[in-house]
Amino acid sequence: MAEKQLSEYVTLVSSDGFEFRILRSAACIAKTVQKALDPAYGFKEDQENKMTLSNINGVVLEKVCEYLYYNQKYAKAKDVPDPDIPPELCLELLIAADYLQC
């Protein structure tokens, strides 16, 4: 396989069409995204640098992206402050987190 320069940013698309461009390093904290974007497997997601998450809506995906950056920021810190999660999103977010493995 030809060596390809990995793009710095990738796009996550929600079920209702919202697109989130986030750092690849942050996106890959979610293991499902990491696998989908892994060049070793050659999925379509990898070629387009874009992953459509048809079971996660925009509101939830925004929170997920927030979390991914939060996780990246505090990866090496200790006694990390917990981020604020709106209770009404908790259940959906939990299912999304389970799906994304993050």
Partner: protein, 643 residues
């Protein structure tokens, strides 16, 4: 600027003669200026209000405007005054908080150094003179007129407050103080608690974890979980139990008709009818685990027998309202199907008869755990010996058991066992001519060939010799889990135990254990095994010999364990996560590698949490150098750095 004038602001700067004169006559320049400014502002506010009304020309507004025009000028003035008052109110409320903080800061400052010039002088001069007790004043917050008393509180802007406002202010200040304190303490307490649990909290929690914790906080507001993966349901159930949020309302969230197991780790808040619900909603239940199910009664058991036809695995902890007859009925009705039965902490019922019924009716039982049940004794032990298909056996009796009977159990059921846990067995005193009793260990050596978990604690009669014999040439694959804590002689007159034959796991026994199981061992508990020598530890954990799977080791109350021992354990066990060293007073400034938690060594604790981040690694290196210097005296060991 504001808030400077507290109750005790008796110290004043140099005043001019005029100021003094005016103050003495109760005339204040500030007051005159204020009233002028107020008039000015009022006019401005009126203009602004008019403009605002013009902006949204709804019928009502226009109406109002017309009305306002019609009103006499005096009325208009009153109205605007009121509006202003409301506005001021709101602002004052916002300011209050800020001002209170400022106040506190200022006070602190005053304590540390003497008044500096900027603190008084001009600012002070332009303020209103403070009213004396007995005089009338308008409250700064609510603008009401009141009589000043010596106890009147100072407001956020330096004026005085009426009694109700003053009280409120005090209350708020107190609430703020309270809110500020415990946050810090809780954080530290949580940290210590995590440390003792062996949780090293580096980085963030997973999003799942965060959501689950949040859900537990809002347990009462959840209507339904919807489609949840089973693993997440388990986690939710666990955290609800931990937070004591498992109650008659929330239990319904966890009962879904398509489930085949129900595990509730803390059922103390559940009512009798909730237990019936379990079987009504989940008729296909295969596994039932209820801990602290205090309200589980005979009627529930009857319902269980009638409804839950697929049940094969029952775990009931603390079900003390179930009568003896009902236990027997359960076994006779469901015994054939039962594969696993666990119970703990029963004292009111569940006697030997129940265990005999269990043994007679449940021939297919593979897993049995009976712990701390007050009423069972020798006959129960004999009954258990007839359960030939047992694979996992955990027993902890509160009554004295003669050693022949225990021996019999091992001989009868030992050959299939994968788990054998015999804890705290009290046995009748030995005959005079015997001093040790290794028959039990010998029986295990001869009978058990499939063990992977072995717990044998608090036995005060088995000798080191016995352990050597057990673990030497034992036709059993290496064990995964060994817990032999507190196997030592208990004699106050001779705390060291007999010299010629050590009681409990000693040096040679420990060598045999590690030689047999070291290659697969994941968990090792040898706390209070006092007769293991320093040389043995040094030989076993020599830094060359590796124990590739060992994750957790408990060395508590092995007094000879020191810093060097712990350091070489770190080096010998690549997968190590947790080391427990309570009462090992020789463990001092040990450097704990990243990812490992060391519990119980008071001086090492401070470093435990510092084991991540690059800057800390430098600090760690520095410490290492020190350690090397120290340890050169102690035999030249080098402390490893991992990760």
């Amino acid at each position: 600027m504001s808030g400077r004038r507290g109750r005790n602001s008796a110290i004043r700067g140099p005043h001019s003669a005029l100021t003094d004169f005016l103050a003495a006559n109760n005339i204040s320049a500030a007051e005159i200026r204020d009233s002028y400014r107020q008039r000015l502002e009022r006019a401005e506010a009126d203009a602004a209000a008019a403009a605002e009304n013009g902006e949204g020309p709804s019928a009502q507004d226009v109406d109002e405007e017309e009305q306002a025009q019609a009103e006499s000028s005096a009325m208009a003035a009153e109205r605007s005054k009121k509006r202003k008052r409301d506005q001021d109110d709101a602002i004052a409320k916002i300011k209050k908080g800020k001002a209170a903080k400022k106040d506190a800061k200022k006070k602190k400052k005053k304590g540390s150094d003497d008044e500096d010039d900027s603190d008084f002088g001009f600012d002070d001069m332009y303020k209103k003179a403070r009213k004396l007790p007995g005089q009338l004043e308008n409250c700064e917050v609510c603008d009401k007129r009141f009589t000043v008393t010596p106890y009147s509180q100072a407001g956020p802007d330096g004026g005085l407050l009426c009694t109700p406002c003053g009280k409120e202010m005090k209350k708020e200040a107190k609430a703020q103080e309270k809110a500020a304190k415990p946050v810090v303490r809780r954080g530290r307490r949580k940290m210590e608690s995590n440390r003792l649990d062996g949780v090293t909290n580096r980085g963030t929690k997973t999003l799942q974890q965060l959501c689950i914790e949040k859900l537990a906080k809002h347990a009462d507001d959840i209507d339904e979980f919807g489609e949840m993966p089973e693993a997440i349901m388990d986690q939710l159930s666990a955290i609800f139990s931990k937070k004591r949020a498992m109650n008659p309302t929330t239990i319904k969230l966890f009962l879904q008709p398509d489930m085949d197991r129900v595990e509730i780790h803390e059922a103390a808040y559940l009512e009798t009818e909730n237990f019936d619900q379990i079987f009504a909603v989940v008729p296909n239940i295969k596994k039932l685990a209820l801990r602290n199910c205090c309200q589980f009664k005979d009627s529930n058991m009857e319902y269980l027998i009638e409804k839950a036809k697929n049940l094969v695995d029952i775990q009931l902890l603390g079900a003390n309202l179930v009568s003896n007859d009902m236990w027997i009925r359960l076994f006779s009705a469901r015994g054939e199907d039962l594969r696993s039965f666990k119970t703990e902490w029963l004292d009111a019922a569940f006697d030997d008869e129940a265990v005999e019924a269990l043994a007679a009716c449940c021939p297919n039982l593979e897993r049995l755990k009976l712990e701390r049940c007050k009423r069972i004794g020798v006959s129960s032990i004999n009954a258990i010996a007839t359960l030939g298909k047992l694979q996992h056996l955990t027993l902890r009796f509160l009554k004295e058991i003669p050693r022949e009977n225990l021996l019999n159990v091992i001989l009868q059921v030992g050959k299939n066992l994968q788990t054998l846990c015999l804890e705290n067995f009290e046995q009748p005193a030995l005959e005079d001519d015997e001093q040790t009793d290794d028959l039990l260990l010998a029986a295990i050596h001869d009978t058990c060939h499939n063990l992977s978990k072995f717990r044998f604690t608090d036995h005060t009669e088995c000798s080191d010799e016995g352990y050597i014999n057990l673990f030497t040439d034992w036709d059993n694959p290496p064990l995964r889990y060994i817990d032999v804590n507190s196997t030592r002689d208990c004699d106050n007159a001779n705390p060291e135990g007999p010299d010629d034959f050590p009681i409990g796991l000693g040096s040679e026994g420990f060598k045999a254990v590690m030689a047999h199981s070291g290659s697969r061992l994941e968990y090792l508990d040898i706390s209070s095994c006092r007769h293991i020598s320093y040389a043995t530890f040094a030989q076993i954990f020599d830094g060359v010999q590796q124990y590739p799977h060992l994750q957790e080791i408990n060395l508590s109350f092995c007094p000879i364990v020191d810093t060097t021992t712990v350091a070489s354990i770190f080096r010998s066990c690549p997968k190590l996560k947790k080391v427990v060293t309570f009462g090992c007073f020789k463990v001092k400034d040990v450097v704990v590698p990243r990812g490992i938690v060391l519990i119980g060594a008071p001086k090492a604790q401070d470093h435990v949490m510092e084991q991540f981040g690059d800057t800390i690694m430098d600090f760690q290196k520095e410490l290492m150098k020190e350690m090397e210097r120290d340890s050169r005296i102690a035999g030249g060991r080098v402390i490893p750095v991992m990760g």
